[in-house]
Symmetry: C2
Subunit: 198 residues, 2 copies
DNA sequence: CTCATAAGTCATCGAACGCTGACTTATCGG
DNA sequence: CCGATAAGTCAGCGTTCGATGACTTATGAG
């Protein structure tokens, strides 16, 4: 393992950038911050990524957890909640990347990115499940709930949600999803048990 | 009306600051931007408010629309949706101030502000309505939905929600709220009619 | 071992940032 | 009309920002 490793250095910059951009947002993050965090000279950011903007684009490319769309359909919503609530997002400062990226939502590029991700991952999958006329709207309403839960949990830090595990939310989520989608939805997705509601 | 009017100048600065901070977030907004927008010398910001930070604090003091907590309890949720969806928030760039303030959520002060506002306005009012054990959690879940709807509408710009009026959401909201709170909730709050769902 | 090349460093640029203190000018009671 | 005072202007401070180009040093093929 050579001490001078282009790919390794690039990776360290990307990792530090992901964390900074998630925690502080695009504008409050300086390239010098990222360089300091990763122990890399700031100049290399421009050598490897071209500009701060391009580094942001590459760093905020989310790799959503696999398996979300796999498994029983009636457990889809439960899996989504687990993705938002229980998944380990330390790479993004402990928040769901979509939630973290809202901090940079002054920039149209970031907004477009969020929109594409929300539609591709949540709305589209839920629309396929929805019965009846305004399936799109109801899919978006359920997606809005997922996003809102993530925000109140990690950004706003509302007392009960901040401490809740996915298992605590499961029964409520199942009931609402069943009602909103017009077909029975399961609250529990096979997983090691979290704490249950009191 | 004197051409030199301290209070009027202060008010113009506040107005411009509110818009800029809402649209671009705290970090992307410079005091020179605000001064240019309001046609006021930038120096006066420090004379009148002390610092950019204090201007932000004062500018982001939300005056939530009166009448939210007044009226029939079973229409509370419907009124909240109208506040998020139909209310005229042009003063804050067209978004609910809580949603806009998420753009500055890298700063703990702003987060605390959002938390206080969300709890005081939404969670507390909803908790009083909730029946049963984990009333707090269910109140927060419903609050999360309100916030999520605002975000998907104006920040993310998801297709159906972006065009929706409160009346389109009313039936869905009523059903979910009834289910989540454990008591019947009305979807319609007496208002001039918007478009109805297809 | 040599040395071309790639990886990493350094000095610095011009612009923009928040903020300050000294200055100019309009306003209005006397 | 006059002068004290408040409102508004101006030049510029120290710092930080994103970004550039010339430089140094480690690496590995020959």
């Amino acid at each position: 393992m050579p001490k001078r490793d282009r790919e390794a250095t690039r990776a360290r910059l990307l990792e530090a950038a992901r964390l900074r951009f998630a925690r502080e947002g695009y504008d409050a993050t300086s390239v010098r911050d990222i360089a300091r965090d990763s122990g890399v000279d700031a100049t290399l950011i421009f050598r490897y990524f071209g500009s701060k903007k391009q580094l942001f684009d590459e760093a905020s490319a989310t790799d959503l957890p696999a398996g979300l769309l796999e498994g029983p359909q009636e457990e889809l919503v439960a899996r989504m909640v687990r993705t938002v609530v229980d998944h380990d997002w330390t790479k993004y400062g402990g928040e769901h990347p979509l939630v973290a990226m809202l901090r940079s939502s002054a920039h149209e590029d970031a907004r477009r990115r969020i929109r594409e991700e929300v539609c591709a991952t949540y709305v589209n999958a839920l629309r396929d499940l929805a019965e009846g006329e305004d399936a799109e709207l109801r899919a978006e309403l359920l997606s809005a709930w997922m996003v809102g839960i993530g925000i109140l949990r990690s950004v706003v830090g509302t007392p009960a949600l901040a401490e809740a595990r996915a298992a605590d939310l499961a029964p409520h989520v199942a009931a609402v999803a069943t009602d909103l989608l017009g077909r029975p939805m399961s609250g529990t997705a096979d997983r090691e048990g979290g704490s249950s509601r009191t």
